[in-house]
Symmetry: C2
Subunit: 330 residues, 2 copies
């Protein structure tokens, strides 16, 4: 295992500290509960919390900032943060307008975020929750019942974050987040496996000419193990699954994310973006805004995902609203 | 070779088109001369041009924007753009205040950018040039005489870009760029080789426990092939080479860049940033601003570089000046 690390057991703490040290004017780190928090909290806006297992950097700490999240709760690599961690995130960022939890739909995350919400409600803190399940690849998976939450979660952070920053009440922020969830779909593929540091060897193996189509962001199996195809064919295979699902239709305006899984270089992500754009143009689906880069990774997996979010005027306005989160400056 | 590509010969064009399609409001692409250009050019500011071989994405197209470059000239993968390409970049972005070329110190780039400057001067266009040579690893290398230009080049784009945007005259912009060059030093290492698409196999091979220390951004040999060490030891080895070179001293303010070479995930870059920060703090060197991410890659090489730029008040002001370049929003 070739990684930039000291001790395996210190990775999450040291990585979080490295992230916060890169943005000391904006972020602070609570080492005990592994919370990356905005330095300037606003008690008069809805508090927004997300998180999950580590290994998806910049998710979620990189999305903490004005116009996005107030705090990211960091679990161990590919492991949900505990109920106590999430509960502390809620109490430490309590707002007069209540708290919204943005949860990726994995059984562990749902259980621990739900438990923390119950504890906080016992303290008379208003808490609402949304569950992101944008991955069209598989219905049930290794880690969850129902669809998995993947890179589309970043769009949900952005939409809810803008609604909160504008001063909307809790239920209105929740409604905006749910609108984003209803309109976002994603799918991914992997050329290579990730290597979980504690294990030290690849989670799965693929032949030199194979890819895992529909892979999850923890290296979970997807739809099929298939032969590698060209960028144009790959974009078409991916979009074919996404477009029929909502469906996205001729004349629709969308936001597009071409997301790298960790070790795929920008050269290839931009090339994939070109293939995706050609197909969307042919289908008369208008790309209103594009995001290409590493947003929701799977440690060092090679591969990428595509996410589409259908936009109405409200979602466009919220998407365009300023954000100074380190990994999502708008 | 597992890559997201169509045909090897189309990579640069398709990648550039994918980059421009991600930022259509800001960038345009001239396919004939492979130029990524700002859509809104300002004739009353010094025109700033950089470029070089492709394979270093987001360099240099991602640094085109208000407050940074006006045009990036894209060569083939790891090959200098031609004199004609650079000449067209100069003539198509001609400004009343003249043009500054920011050249990474590789023999091919120097020859072709110099040739283009001569051609433009024959057309009565004022052209000045600076050469970036921030890599402390080796004196002469596979591709150049003298030190190589690596990730520190991005700081030079930023400083010169701000000086130009502020309306300074050509010589003053050049002086600012040269001040940045004089104050920036870098070093890198690789855990794995890159794979040049046209070759289809890794440029070099390393044992499972080996790294190339002092590697160049084209996979050129560095100082030594060594055993992998911990993140803290690696940071110390790298900083030891950089710090004595300028030298950077106790009480100095610096800008820090922890740059990934393409396939190293953010998790590891943030962890390396933590190690670097601990050492700089011990040496009483103050980090004024930090940049962690993929800025100057080597296709899909695994590894990273560290760059330090010593700052005075002028450089701080220019570093903080707004930029909307897609890969360097300030």
């Amino acid at each position: 295992m070739k990684k930039i690390i000291n001790k395996v057991e210190d990775i999450v703490i040291e990585m979080c500290e490295g992230m916060v040290k890169a943005h000391p004017e904006q972020l602070s780190f609570n080492k005990k509960y592994k919370l990356i928090t905005r330095k300037e909290l606003n008690k008069n806006k809805v508090s927004l919390i997300s998180g999950g297992g580590s290994g998806h950097e910049p998710a979620h700490g990189g999305f903490v900032g004005k116009g996005m999240l107030d705090v990211a709760v960091c679990g161990d690599v590919f492991a949900s943060p505990s109920t106590i961690q999430v509960y502390n995130a809620i109490t430490k960022t309590e707002s007069n307008k209540g708290t919204l939890l943005i949860i990726k739909n994995y059984s562990g995350d749902c259980m621990n975020f739900d438990g923390a919400a119950e504890m906080a409600e016992d303290d008379d803190i208003k808490v609402e929750k949304v569950y992101v399940n944008d991955d069209v690849a598989v219905k049930d998976s290794l880690y969850t019942i129902g669809r998995r939450g993947v890179a589309g979660t970043v769009f949900v952070h952005k939409i809810a974050g803008a609604a909160a920053e504008k001063g909307h009440e809790l239920l209105k922020v929740k409604t905006a987040a749910e609108k984003a969830i209803q309109n976002v779909r994603s799918i991914g593929f992997a050329f290579t496996s990730c290597t979980v540091p504690a294990k030290g060897s690849p989670t799965f193996t693929l032949g030199d000419d194979e890819m895992e189509f529909g892979v999850g962001i923890h290296g979970e199996p997807g739809i099929a193990r298939e032969k590698i195809v060209s960028a144009d064919e790959l974009a078409e295979k991916m979009l074919n699954r996404i477009i029929v699902d909502l469906p996205y239709e001729s004349g629709d305006d969308i936001a597009l994310m071409v997301n790298g899984f960790g070790s795929t270089p920008l050269q290839e992500l931009y090339l994939l973006n070109n293939s995706v754009n050609k197909i969307l143009e042919n289908k008369n689906i208008n790309v209103y805004k594009t995001f290409v880069g590493n947003y929701m990774t799977a440690i060092d997996m090679s591969g990428a995902s595509i996410s589409l979010m259908k936009l109405d005027e409200e979602l466009k306005e919220l998407l365009d609203y300023p954000s100074d989160a380190p990994a999502f400056k708008v």
